[in-house]
């Protein structure tokens, strides 16, 4: 394998690891901000605000890590991921607003939490990535 290919592979691997680490950090800080007030610091507002700010900062770094990751992967992988992101974002927006509208006019009674939209978007992203990978094989 040539030095250039090894360097590219190393760059991709490094950005993949960084993305995985920052994804974990963001999820961990989100869990802390969500459950910490109830189980650890008894709803102390100062601590709660600090964890929210830390979570947002971790989220910003995660966005940058994702951006860097997309820059490192090759053309086709980037196309597959961008298409998957577009589908996931579309499903999230269309589905989210449709559920919100239905809730507002009383068509549905269950609680539509934003966490559900995030999970749906994540699943759609994974499925769309898998389909894209098979499609361009």
């Amino acid at each position: 394998m040539s030095d250039k290919t090894q360097t590219r592979d190393r760059r991709v691997n490094r950005s993949t690891v960084q993305l995985a680490i920052w994804t974990f950090v963001w999820v961990a800080t989100l869990a802390l901000a969500s459950f910490g007030p109830r189980f650890i610091w008894d709803y102390n507002p100062t601590v709660s605000w600090i964890t929210i700010v830390v979570n947002v900062l971790a989220g910003l770094v995660w966005i940058i890590a994702h951006f860097n990751y997309l820059r490192q992967v090759d053309d086709l992988q980037r196309k597959i991921m961008l298409e998957a992101i577009a589908i996931a974002l579309g499903v999230g927006l269309v589905g989210g607003f449709a559920v919100a509208a239905a809730k507002n006019i009383g068509l549905i009674s269950f609680d539509s939490e934003i966490a559900i939209v995030s999970v749906v978007m994540g699943v759609v992203y994974l499925v769309a990535t898998a389909i894209g990978t098979v499609r361009y094989r």
């Binding site: 040539s2 250039k4 590219r8 090759d74 053309d75 086709l76 992988q77 196309k79 361009y136 094989r137």
Partner: protein
């Protein structure tokens, strides 16, 4: 967009993996370009042209 990448590669007895390594892309990308499922970016198209010592227009043919 039609292209002659497979023809040029097989003329040189290169595998898709060989070509992918020289272009610094994945083998899947080379396969998708050869099957005309995917048009490469301009930088990759220039690398292909340089590698085969031809112009981009000689390799990629407008439909």
């Amino acid at each position: 967009m039609r292209n002659r990448v497979k023809e040029l590669r097989t003329e040189r007895d290169w595998t898709q993996a060989d070509l992918a390594e020289q272009l610094s892309v994945s083998r899947q990308t080379v396969n998708a370009i050869e099957k005309e499922k995917f048009d490469p970016s301009l930088p990759v198209a220039f690398r292909i042209a340089r590698l085969f010592d031809q112009t981009i227009e000689e390799i990629f043919l407008d439909d």
